[in-house]
């Protein structure tokens, strides 16, 4: 059996489908978080409550844009992996990882800054705000671990298994990045 030639295969690999179904559960989870956010907002006389400022718009939007941009190197990595170019795939993932890690570090800082201004125990707004952002950051964190593991695997070259792994990881990041736009949309919606 050749290492990774895919000319014979027409359907998406099992690993890709597995990631697709996993993404479906996570998308449902986030859909439920968004639903809860707006449900609680509809019942609040003031949102955010008096004493809490609505979040600033510029920095979260820019950061979300930066994260979405990392979709490009991930897609590049997937295409390179399918074409059998291990080094190109590794470079693309490494680039994505650096930017994503920078994004994550900045978000951790902003998260801490927010906590100094209001906490989850201040009320429903704080509670759902931190669940929304925390869940998203957790998914980014898992993505970072995936990137590192992929780089370790690809250091020894490409196999059919590893090509599927890169495709699955790209699917995951595409989902997380699209989600970033929705999360920041909900986060900033009080400004509308």
């Amino acid at each position: 059996m050749s290492a990774y030639s895919l000319e014979a295969r027409r359907a998406k690999p099992n690993g890709w489908w597995g990631m697709a179904v996993f993404v479906a559960t996570e998308a449902t989870l986030f859909g439920t978080i968004f639903g809860t956010y707006f449900y609680l907002e509809f019942r609040a006389p003031h949102w955010p409550p008096r004493g809490i400022e609505p979040p600033a718009v510029a920095v979260p939007l820019i950061l979300a844009g930066v994260l979405v941009a990392t979709t490009l190197p991930m897609w590049t990595a997937a295409r390179a992996a399918i074409a059998g170019r291990a080094a190109a795939a590794r470079r693309a993932i490494a680039l994505a990882l650096v930017v994503q890690a920078g994004y994550f570090a900045m978000q951790m800082q902003l998260f801490q800054d927010d906590l100094a201004k209001f906490t989850p125990s201040s009320g429903a707004y704080g509670s759902i705000y931190y669940v929304l952002l925390g869940a998203h950051h957790a998914h980014v964190g898992v993505g970072l671990l995936l990137d590192v593991w992929l780089l370790a695997k690809l250091a020894r070259g490409l196999t059919r298994y590893r090509v599927t792994a890169v495709r699955a990881a790209t699917f995951y990041w595409t989902f997380v990045n699209v989600l970033a736009l929705l999360v920041v949309g909900a986060q900033l919606s009080p400004n509308v």
Partner: protein, 124 residues
């Protein structure tokens, strides 16, 4: 009819009504919830306009899906659902979708009419 066109119509006929009803439920419930909660009224949505428009649009789209299902059903009238794909699969999905879409149409109409038939926001 060309196979690729049948393929597209098959999926529209099978999945269209389900997606349309989902949209009507989510949007219709959201509009009703905003109208009937204190803070949601900030959004200022008129219940009757939204619910009736939603029902009419949803019903129209379900009818289109039903049309697609019927078209595939008629195009495969000399086939059996056990036949090799794609024709057998087209027959299979369309014969089920023809019935399913009627069900969704009734739900869409009942929901829309129910939402406007009662005094708005009266406690159940």
């Amino acid at each position: 009819m060309r196979t690729s066109r049948l393929e597209l119509l098959q999926w529209v006929g099978l999945l269209g009504a389900a997606l349309v009803w989902t949209a009507q439920l989510v949007i219709g419930y959201g509009v009703a919830d905003s109208r009937c909660t204190l803070a949601g009224q900030r959004w200022g949505l008129d219940l009757r306009t939204w619910e009736i428009t939603l029902m009419v649009v949803a019903a129209a789209l379900v009818l289109i899906a039903e049309g697609a299902a019927v078209a595939v059903f008629r195009a495969t009238r000399d086939r059996d659902h056990n036949d090799p794909p794609p024709a057998g699969r087209h027959r299979f999905f369309s014969s089920a979708a023809v019935v399913g879409n009627v069900l969704f149409l009734v739900i869409v109409l009942l929901s829309g009419l129910g939402a406007v038939a009662h005094t708005a926001c009266r406690q159940a």
